[in-house]
Symmetry: C2
Subunit: 303 residues, 2 copies
């Protein structure tokens, strides 16, 4: 089960009624945050979620609306008595940017480990999840992120029984371990079916639409994508500032065959993004204009 909350849906500037875009995902006692603009910590408080278990913070890029809330967030995590190391993932230069911002948050009770992304695609296994970063196309180096939770194949009790292996060893095989029992070696694949469909969330902002997005978002349970502008006459502006139209995001969602899409990162000039939802759904019916603190629980599908 992945619990997630899109903490804010604004782009460029925080607004009193629309916080900056940020995603928080909870899994198995750990929390992962993607982006941390000014006000993100207030959204976490409103949501009633905790600061202490934030084990990973991913940053898409170093524009202020995606990272300006970081020094305050780190201090608040320290005040929540976190002492375990925090892992930060982001483009090359991450450590320099974070340390520069930490001029006002120099003392923290926890260590920060930095993972700077160098390749167009990188995979980091952390907190029992697989985080895939993929480079997109913005004015500065920017990455989208997949958060994936794998699901092992189904355990076949009949086969385990047929092998003659006592029940107390079954859970080891279920965990993928190898069992040596009475001179015989039993491996996981002897009793486990092929891996089942896991869970996948794709988060992608700020960027022009590029092939990598549709490829990386392929079959995602939830695709969270920027939709900076709704009005087609803003296309040249979107191209100039390397942002995406809501229409373009919907086309990516369709191409990637995702299960559901939430738009986010609306222009501060767009007062009622909901007005564009019908247009979006005419292209991709499961596309929604998300609001601040839209939340969802993703469960493995029934067998």
């Amino acid at each position: 089960m992945l619990e997630l909350c899109l903490l804010g849906t604004g782009g460029m500037l925080p607004l009193p009624y629309r916080a900056l875009t940020s995603l928080m995902v909870r899994y198995n006692g750990s929390s992962i945050l993607i982006d941390c603009g000014e006000g993100t910590q207030n959204q976490i408080r409103l949501q009633g979620w905790s600061f202490k278990p934030i084990d990973v913070i991913c940053i898409t890029h170093f524009h202020a609306d995606h990272i300006s809330g970081l020094p305050g967030m780190l201090l608040t995590m320290g005040n929540a008595e976190r002492t375990e190391p925090l892992t930060m993932i982001g483009p090359r230069g991450l450590e320099h940017v974070v340390n520069s911002l930490r001029i006002i948050a120099p003392e923290l009770p926890f260590e920060i480990k930095f993972i700077e992304l160098e390749q167009p695609e990188e995979v980091i296994e952390i907190c029992g999840l697989r985080i895939q970063a993929f480079r997109v196309n913005h004015r500065v180096t920017c990455y989208g992120y997949n958060i994936e939770l794998d699901r092992a194949g189904k355990f076949d009790a009949a086969r385990a029984r047929a092998l003659g292996l006592p029940v107390q060893y079954w859970s080891l095989l279920q965990k993928g371990e190898t069992v040596d029992y009475e001179g015989n070696v039993y491996t996981s694949d002897m009793v486990m079916g092929s891996p089942r469909k896991g869970l996948k969330v794709t988060y992608c902002t700020d960027t022009r639409p590029v092939d990598a997005i549709a490829e990386c978002a392929k079959d995602a349970d939830l695709f969270i994508c920027e939709g900076m502008y709704g009005e087609e006459e803003k296309l040249s502006k979107a191209k100039e500032h390397k942002h995406m139209m809501m229409r373009e995001a919907a086309e990516l969602a369709k191409e990637a065959q995702v299960h559901e899409m939430w738009l986010t990162h609306y222009s501060p000039a767009t007062n009622r993004p909901k007005e564009f939802e019908a247009m979006v759904q005419s292209i991709f019916p499961q596309g929604y204009i998300a609001k601040d603190r839209t939340e969802k629980v993703l469960n493995f599908e029934e067998d």
Copy 2:
């Protein structure tokens, strides 16, 4: 006339229902901001005031709750198409701290002029106002600020007439200029009474109570002062972290004979600071537990 708004009243951390302490003062088309924590720009928006005319930003000290909103504020001022230089005033190291935070706001359409405070007391004349900075006693170097608007003496038309000076020269004398008319020199003091009471606002956070505060706040029309804790049992905590009790602030207000006091910078653990207002008023009757966006217009007194 000074228009002022205490944008937030929180200390330490931004909270969804209590923004970080910051004061905005408007005078004659200019705005002056004191402190700029995370969320300050949202409070300005809620208040309906403009970003573009912010000509001066004073910073009390470099703890995050007083400056974490700065990079976003500077970008928002740039988006408001400000091109005139901005003056920043603060403790020594200001330029280094601001430039370090500007790693995420490197390009601005306006210049920043820095005034770094070196002395225990310094006076800066700017925007037609007098800003007096006075050093207080916190864990790091910290300054309080007076914002003062002078008022010239009353023009004595009878004396001007008696001097035989034509009416068209009167306004020059009123502005303090000297007039040479038909071989005679007329100076301002010949027709102006002694200066009248002006307006004075004192802003003071974070600090232990020290003599300099009562001296500098003397006779202020409005004294805005931190009151981190209300409960007397928190005195040792206040001393340890170099903050002030509400009681101590009220005693300073009484000693300084200010006209009115607003408390601010409440501990995040204090859910209902209003509960301490009666205690405060038992010491200083014009003392109030301010709320976010408490506003006031200060006018010169009637002659």
